[in-house]
Each structure stands twice: as C-alpha cells, then as structure tokens.
Symmetry: C3
Subunit: 478 residues, 3 copies
C-alpha cells in the first residue's frame, strides 16, 4: 500500500489558531506574486538551448549536494548515486540511483530538502503518492515521461513558475556565451548573470593560473600589472552589466578586507602573480580585492554580495576522488566587525553603494551583522544562507536581526540554488516562514495587521527589487 | 485619514490563550510596582535644575542613538536630524527633523524603539493617532505644549513614573555638582550616581590626559604613582558613595582581567603614565584595573558592573565628523572564561562581593556566563543589554541562562537609557516579557503558579534591590 | 501548611492544545520503553555489591554537582552541604545538610535539577508534599527508611527502572574489578564499562605519572616507548571489551586532533614521558591520541565519543581546598572544523567507524556539527550535553541540528549522570522534549503523524542501540 502525498495548505504556519489565521491571510496576499531570484546557480545554457532534461536522477539528485551529502553521511557511495567523479560519470543506472534515494527518503525527515522535494513532486509533476521504495519506479517513469513533453522544457517551466527575474552566477573568466544566446534568441525571460571574480582573485584556487590567462584574453588587458588587472575587472564588470548583471558576488573563506596603499597593492600583486606568495598574502589579497570591488561598485552601481565563512572541500579523500562541490563545505566561525572595517573606512558612508552581507555563522546575526546593517548606509543583510535556508533557520534570522536592523535593512529572499525545479518550493517556504513571523508579531500586538500586510509585500517583492536595483539604475541601463 | 494609536493590554504576551491568561494575571501583580533603575545614563542636571525640556526633537530624537542610527543606515544625514556634530548644532529646524522621523517611522517596525516610542506617545503625552508624515506637526506641537507645563518637568515626571531609585553614571573626573545640587535642593527623589572610572583607566581614550589631570585635582593624590593612583580611586569611590552611589561600572573593550604583582603593576603604570605604552599595555592595564576595582569593591561594598565587548566608534568617517556615541558601536565576540580567571582567582569566592556581568555576545549566555554565575559566589548576571534589551533578546536571555544559573543569580532589569521618558516603557516591556516567560513555564507545568507569582515579584523588585544593595549596607550608610 | 507535590501528566508539552494532544499521544508510545543508558558515571560497585545506600544527603546531594554548585553560588559553603574536601568528610550532620537544600530549594526553579528531583521524590520515593524547610525532616526520614528496605537496593531499582543497558566509565588504569564482580555474581543486569583513557593521555593531569605506572602494570607493556604505549592501549581496549564495553570516551579541553608521522609521534612521546613537554606538546599529544584512538576504533569496532570544551577546575581556591568535580568546570568556545580535520583526513570516510561528537558550545550545532555529521560517514551527533541537558537545551539541539543533519545522524539520549536515581527522570524529560519537538513538526505539517511515531521510537530506542552497537558487532562478541 502506498501512502498519499499531499501538501497541507497550512504547512509551516504556527499551530496556535489565532496566529495561524493571521499567517494564512497574510500568505494569501503574497502566495502568487511573481518570483524574483536575484542570486542563484542555475545553468544559463538551459534557457539558452531550452533542451529537455532527461531523467529524475540527473535533474533532481545528481546536482543537489543537499541530497547526496545526506545519503553519503549514512555510508552510501557517490557512485551508487550516479554522481560524477574526477574519473567521469559512473556506470550506475540512473534508475538504480533513484531507487537508493527512494529507499532512504526517511533520512530527510525534518530537513528542508524534504519540503522542497515534496513540493516539486506534487506541484511540478502532479504526483500524489509518497516517495518510498515501492514507488521509486513509478516516480522515475512519471518524471521521465513528463520531462519529454514541451511543457517541461526550461523556458516553459520558467513561465509556469512566474519567474520575473533570475540571476545566474558566472566567473570573470566566463565568455557569457549562454547569456548572449538567451538575449539573441528573442526569448523574453529575464535571465541575467552575476559577476563572480573569485577565480581570478583567489590564488589558492587550483585553477587560478588558467583563469587569469582567460581573463587576459577576454579583456586584452595586461593582467600581470596591478593597474592592468584592475582595468580588466572594470572591463569584465561592464561586459557583465551588458549581459544584464546588476550585482557581483564574492565567496571568500573569511570576511577579511584590507585598505593598502597603491605601492603596497603593487608589491602584493607582484608576489601573487610571481608565485612568491604565502597563505597570509593570499588572504590579504582577497581582502584588498573586496575593497577594490567595493570601490568599483561605488562607481558603476553594481550591488556587491559577500558570502564568507565556508571551509571548502573539507573532506580530503572525497576532494581527491570527486573534486569540488560535493557537500563537503563546512561553515566556520566568522568575524565581521574587525574584518570589514578597512573596507568600510573607504566606502562605508556612501549611501549610493549597496553591499549585501551573508553569513553561515548565526552567532553573528544579532551580535555583529544587525548592528552593522542597522548603522552603515552601504550595508544590508542577505537572507538566511545555505544550511540556514530552512524554516528554523529563517525564523532565527528574523528573530535575531529584526529588532536591531529592522526589516528595511534586509533584502528579501535568495533561493541560491542549482535545482531549478525547486525554486517555487523555496520561495514558498520563505513566504510562509516570513508570514508566520509577521503573524506572531501581530498576534502579540507588536505590529498592526495593516503593517504586517505591507511588510509581507516588501519581504516578498519590494525589498529585493530595490536592493538589487532591478527597476532602475544599473538594471535599467544595462 | 490618520490611524488610531492604542496600546493593546495584551501586547507581548504569547498568543496561546491559556498561556496568555497566565501571563496576564502575573503581569497584573507587578504592572504598577515602583520602578527601580539601578543603571542608566540620564542627565542628573535635569533633576538638579528641574528646567523644562523644549521640544520633541531635542528630547526624544537627538539623544537617542537607537533612532538616529536607524535613519542614518537608510541614508539620512545626521544633519537632517538635528544631531550635533563636532562643529556644533546644525542649523536644522527641530520641526523639520521631527518630520523626517515621522516619515520614516515604518523603519522601526519590529524594533523595541517602536514599542518604547508608542508607549511614550500614548502614556506620557496622551496622543491617540499614529506617528506618520501627516501627523508630524500635530505631534511636534502637542509635545512642545505639554513640555511647557509644570506636569512635564523632570521631577514631576519622576514622581508620575513611580521611580523609586534612579542611578546615573559619572566619570571619575566628574565633580558631582549636579548630584550635590539634587541633595541640597531638598527634593526627595532618590537619584544617585555610579562610579565609572573608564576615563582614567583607558589610556587609549582620546581624553585620558585631561581626565587624569582632573582626577588629581579632585583627589589631591599623586596620580603619577601607582599607590597614589589607587588612593585617588579610593577617595573618589568614597565621594561617589557619599553622593548615594552603590555601584561602579566598567565599559571595557574586552572582559580581560589580570593579576600582576605590585612590581609589575608599578612598571606597567609607569609605561601608561610615561606615554611609552603600546596597545597590549593598554589592554593589560585595563585588565589589572578590573582586578583592583574588584578588590576595592570587596573592601567598600560597592557593587561592580562589567560591560565588555563593544567596538566603539567603528565608523571612522562619522567619528571624525561627529565624535562618540553616534550609533557606531558594534558588539564583538567576547570571551569570559579565560578573561575573568585572573580576577576570580583573587576575589571569586568572596560571598560579600557582587560583580554583575553583562554581554553583547549572546553565544556566551548558556556557554560561559550562566555556568560562571551558577558557580562563583561573587558573580551575578546582568539583564539582556543594549541591542538585546528587546522582547526577543530578553526572551533568549531567560531561555539561555535560567536552566543553569536559575533566576536567583540574575539581578532584575536595567533600562540603561539616556531617554528619560522611555523608562516606564522599557520597564513595562521587561515585566511583560518576564511574565510571558514565567507563564510558559507554568503552562508547561515546569513551575507552579504560586512560584511564578513569587518570581514575578523578584524579577521586578526583589532581585534588583538586593543585588544593588539598595536597602542596606552600602546604600543605607551613604 | 505544606504544599502538595504532584507531577502533571502534560509537563513539558507545548501549551497549544492541538500540539499538546499530538505530543501526548506520541509520548504514550514511548513512555514505558526500557531505558538504554550508553554513557554515564554511576559507580559499578553499587551493582557489584548491591549494598544499600544510607541517607538522602549522601545519595542525592553530595554526588550531584548541579545541586551543590548552585547552593555554593549563593554563598553556602560546601562544608555546610557535607561535601568532602581534600581534608576528608566534614563533620556536618547529613540531616543538617539536607535542611540547607530544602530551605534553598527555590533556587532550582526553572532548572532541570528541579524536574529531576521532583521526579525522584514522587516516582521513586512516593513523596507527595513539596520539599521546603518545613518538610526537610519528613523527606530525610522517609528517604532514609526507604533506602533501608530491599526494594531500594541498587539492583532492585535497576530492575524497577526498566534499565536495559547501563554503561559506566572507567579509566585506562582501572582494574575493572567491580565489573568483573558484576559478571561473576550471575546477576543479569547489563552494566558495562567504557574505555576512558584521558588519565594516561593528558600529561597535564596531576595524576598522570601514577596512572601511567598502573597502565604499565595492567598491560605488561613498555609504556615508555611509543609502540609499547599504543600496544598497551590495544590490550586495555580488549580488556574493556571483555567487560562489555562497546565504546570509548575522550574528555579533552579542545577538539584538536593531529596527524603526525611515526617519527614525529616518537619524538613527541619522548618529550611527554621525559618530562620536557610544554603546554603546546601536551595539547598536540592529546590531539594525536584522538587520531590513534580513532584508528584503533576502526580496527576493533569500539564506538568513539569525544567530549571537548570544558575548562576544568576554573576556581583555583576551590580546587586547592576541595579538588576536582566540584561544579567549577566552565564551557569554552570550541572549534571543530579545523580541529577535527587531521583525524578526519585519516578515518573520515570509513563507514564502519562511528565517532560521536558532543559540545558545550551551542553555537557549533548549526554552524559546524550538523554540517559535519550531515556529511562524514563516520560522524554522528551526541545529544545535548551537561549544561544543555535540559528542556530548553534539548529543544535548541533539535532546532539547530535537525534541518542539516536530520534525525538519523543523531544517537538518542545520554543521561551522563552520577545520580543513579535520576536516570528515569532524565530519560523521561528527554522523551517528553523530543515528543514535543516532533509534535510541533506534525502540527505545522512538516512531518506526517506516522513518521513522527516512527521517529519517537527511533529517538528513544533505535538510534541509541545502533549507534552504540548494542545488538551486534562489538556488543555481541564481547
């Protein structure tokens, strides 16, 4: 006997009846608003080619490190899940891999992955039985058949999902061909890029040298000199703006910034490019480049996002066999107060600049980030990120930031995902959790109902559009 | 159309009806108890001269860094808010500044400032429409008119607010004239001082040299020698006690303490006064002085308060233009376990000494502070402080400290404010949040109702009176 | 007039009626399941000799540092509580000590100790009036009389408590005589040991030299050589397995691990045994030994428990007068991400190894521990520990770990207690808090009711039995 699968209309709302009623009515006003996704990692080639996806495993399991890391944590090999290694794609049958997921689906109880997947299963594919060993093949077949139809092509789903804006992320060494193809195609979906120069800033990345060569080719600048290197960044930022970008993104090990003199920058850059750097130089250079990027953002209007604090590729054995992005990135304690001061000494009081801060260290929310964002004109708080993009994580974010930073120094929701089909699910969870939080404030008479209604709109739509400059300035002129 | 403004009698109580009913009945037993304010920053000259305040902006906006930092974070200049800079008072019309606050009042949704202000508007001034652009002038006029009447003079409000005890904070270099004038006036309000010697302890403060000169003049001690410097502290502590002080206060960058030999102290002090100190010396000296102050407290009975962990004047540009206390103090991660050990090795087991610890780093509540206060006879926990003096912050304080430290190692509420009119509002929020917490314990059958009723009294009145020694010992003999 | 004492059947369940009903029905399915206690500190001699306990003070107060540290924090001397010092047992009458506890019982309001004690009083001793000054003698007499009867002997209570498995903890230098006596007695209770080698690993422990001598005697190995020392560990691990152990336990100041070459190990060990070590060597050696223990666990199947982050004996005066374990151990900030990497580089991907991590630093739950356990095959999360083994602490544990690690990377409950009579109380609190958490997920439609029912069984019984290998592998072959 299989179990029915159905999403409850009151899911994620508080159990108290009065509070739930408020949450429900707030949610009703934002449930169907268009999706604005200003930060994520979907593949722009999907929208450029509009080619169909092939099967449940390659679409839903293989790219989703939330899923396979949990299975891996319970002793299941990545080969059994059809995850590519450095040696290439394993011979595993996609259907067999899907069955492994189905058999182990209880592992995801209590996790956001479970909420997202059930949403995809019911709302995108119309499935009405729960995923378990007995239904694995039914799922695999139903999903495969759907994907073969025109209604499940990337652009058709983009429309069906009511996506108003979708940003992908590309490196400074990327030629942006997929984005050019999207624009050349005449398709009206607004899919834009984001400038992420980490590959040409982090000398400790194993592909730094290759990225720098490509950076030089794409810009015709002398990237071996400090001034030429900065000029190359300016050129590429302009290229990215021409491809619709309104933002940059920086994923550094720490939030360290620096404010060196030009002579110090030149000497440091010579060590970086000359191969005589040490770990302290690599860190200092990343820190100085955050300040340089902030300066350029103050000039060109691109919104700057800083995502610090992940220890990448923590599992040495897995990195050797399978490479990056295999669920082995672990958050670290992160300081912001001392780390950001050099950059803020340069740009902190510029009200025309927007720097959005993220964290994986929740202890920084109330202690450092809300006070910083509640003071500096240039700073805003990004939403609960990565491991914390979850009902409890988003609730803690609001509880620990609102009283000091208010709602208006936050920027709405980011889905930050590679899993395109989960985008509506993720935005739905965020809207529900925000409405639940607002409902509590109303129920406790800390906010009037009409104010909560205004805020629900702002948290869903207004704040993100303004913070990422989607309706003017940088966005409109690109 | 203007909106009505009304405080709901159930504000800040949990939505669950059974829990709310318990909270409501607990609150009823403490709602009108007199206010005891053992730590704050009101200006004693108000009570010495009893001169009327002039207008809403200079009374409610200009001194309140919670308000103007939020407006500043959204790109509003301090000039537009009539905040004085190093160049003096800007030409801004107070009414124009008030309109800026009114137009941006939604920024405070979800913040404690909103709760406090609405309380002041309705309960102190009897306003019954919400603050917004359309009501800005109505507010400015109504408040101005009220302030011109005798009922709104400082002493009249002190009585109306049922304040039983109010401590201000003065530096070691302060002549205490305002406090002497209060006493000489024959007015019966109990307004006392608190000994805050940071200005003559922190050699990194820009006015250290001047403070030391004044310290010497006021004490006739040789403050250039270590023994003379300590003697000067003893004299001033006696002066402060004579002006009613029962406590000292220490706002240091960290909780670092030290336990040096006399010879080491003399050598360190020679570097401090000789101008040959470095940053490590400055920190070590502050740490040694905490231990010295604790020793003196063990002798003279003054309660010692330690407020560590704020990075002061983080915004370099703003500090250059506007100076200190402009909303740019940002909390830092703070260690207590290693930091306090040298001092505790000296005085930790003295049950006649009281040291009250505060933090801006909530991660220390359950991990360090509750275990320390739940063990050492001399240690007590101060209430949720500054950024955390808010409904969520106070709830987290109770949730993270009670199970290890109990209620009886805490000390009731501090309003810690410069905003005199908000004192009843702040105490009301604290009483409501405490009653809500107690109500949950009763509703979950973790506490009997009669115990919660006893605790509500203790948290409002008993603990603070005993911890700060208001009814005997130091307090009575002053 | 004395007050009635009664445990409410709904205690610790959320107040919301719908959620409470779910919690109540989940709890009903696990309330009477046998107790599995895989980590604790009861005295095996109790079960070896089955001798009666004598009085309330020596059984309930003197061994319970949660109790006497709270009383001490309020200025009560340990002598008054009949706590032994280095000079021996004070002359204090046990009844007088019990009266001190009774008079100060309100100090425990809001603490787990209160919940545990009231459970012991009502459920174990059948008392039905509350403990207070007026009932102190009634309690002391009733408990003393009960303890003199056969039904209150250790083995009788073990059976009455439905304990299925109870692990104690012994040092590497322990002869395990009590455990041998238990086995030789023919009694069927499953009381086993746990291998805790800290005493021969931590050279900073004041009894290290004596422990090493005993370690050599018990193993006949040359513990002065690195290889002989490792061989001695292997022998003792086998001895412990023969006495039923399925696990080892490691209580280090930090989670630091190391991965040195054999030559480096030999050189370091020579400094340790030669007395030429410094603090950095001591820390490095402890770190290297965690990796060695993990390697041995991968070989012999013993489950490895790591309990880091306590600053032991923080109170210098009390340590001098009364020695260890007097409630003066204070948690410290603890890093896991960098600290564990050397060990995980060696054993991290071994799915046959189980390492259970604990923390006293709750900020690590969501940031470090859940991501680590949600990735590494060998890692699992131990339950909320020590100061956090409380209703709020256990709730935070679930809220901060479940979304990333799921339920299945956790290991059920540990009571971790010296207080044998409180074991049922502690397991009951854990079951109630877990059911309350599950009930909230069901009420918010984040989990189906049948899933919550399965999870309630797993959290009470399944996970602990599998994680600690109680039903096979190491457990069965011992």
């Amino acid at each position: 006997m299989t179990r029915r699968l159905e999403l409850h209309p009151d899911r994620l709302f508080p159990a108290d009846p009065a509070t739930r009623a408020i949450a429900r009515s707030l949610y009703a006003t934002v449930a169907t608003l268009p999706i604005v996704s200003p930060h994520g990692h979907t593949d722009p080639r999907w929208f450029a080619t509009d080619a169909p996806w092939t099967d449940a495993t390659s679409l839903l399991l293989a790219p989703d490190h939330y899923l396979f890391r949990m299975l891996y944590s319970q002793g299941i090999s990545l080969d059994a899940l059809a995850i590519p290694s450095r040696a290439g794609q394993p011979a595993t049958d996609p259907r067999a891999a899907w069955r492994v997921l189905a058999e182990h689906y209880p592992l995801f109880r209590g996790t956001p992955s479970r909420l997202w997947l059930d949403h995809v299963f019911t709302q995108v594919f119309g499935l009405d039985v729960a995923l378990e060993a007995a239904t694995a093949d039914l799922y695999f077949d139903a999903i495969g058949e759907a994907l073969a139809t025109p209604a499940f092509r990337p652009r058709a789903l983009f429309d069906r999902f009511h996506i108003d804006f979708l940003a992908t992320t590309e490196g400074a060494q990327d030629d942006l061909d997929a984005h050019h193809a999207i624009r050349a195609s005449g398709w009206q979906g607004r899919v834009v890029t984001t400038y992420r120069p980490d590959g040409v800033i982090d000398v400790e990345h194993e592909q730094f040298a290759g990225a720098m060569r490509r950076f030089a080719e794409l810009t015709n600048e002398d990237v071996g000199s400090w001034q030429g290197y900065l000029a190359a960044h300016r050129r590429r930022r302009a290229d990215f703006r021409a491809a619709g970008a309104t933002a940059t993104d920086h994923g550094h090990p720490s939030a360290r910034t620096a404010n060196l003199s030009t002579a110090e920058c030149e000497a440091l850059f010579a060590r970086i490019t000359g191969g005589t750097w040490d770990a302290a130089d690599a860190e200092l250079f990343r820190g100085q480049m955050l300040t340089e990027m902030a300066r350029m953002s103050a000039e060109d209007g691109m919104v700057m996002q800083i995502h610090p604090g992940s220890f990448r590729n923590h599992n040495a054995g897995l990195f050797a066999s399978h490479g990056r992005d295999k669920g082995a990135d672990i958050p670290m304690r992160t300081d912001y107060v001392a780390a950001l001061k050099p950059m803020l000494d340069v740009v902190g009081t510029d009200p025309n600049l927007t720097i959005i801060l993220f964290t994986l260290d929740e202890s920084a929310y109330a202690r450092e980030l809300a006070p910083l964002a509640g003071h500096y004109p240039c700073l805003k708080l990004g939403p609960a990120w990565w491991f914390h993009d979850s009902p409890e994580g988003m609730r803690r974010f609001r509880e620990m930031t609102t009283e000091t930073a208010g709602f208006y120094n936050t920027v709405g929701f980011n889905d930050d995902t590679r899993a395109f089909l989960s985008i509506p699910a993720r935005h739905d969870v965020a809207r529900r959790v925000d409405c639940a939080f607002l409902a509590r404030l109303v129920a406790e008479h800390r906010l009037e109902d009409w104010e909560a209604a205004e805020l629900a709109q702002e948290l869903t739509s207004g704040l993100v559009r303004r913070a990422y400059r989607l309706d003017g300035g940088i966005g409109a002129t690109a």
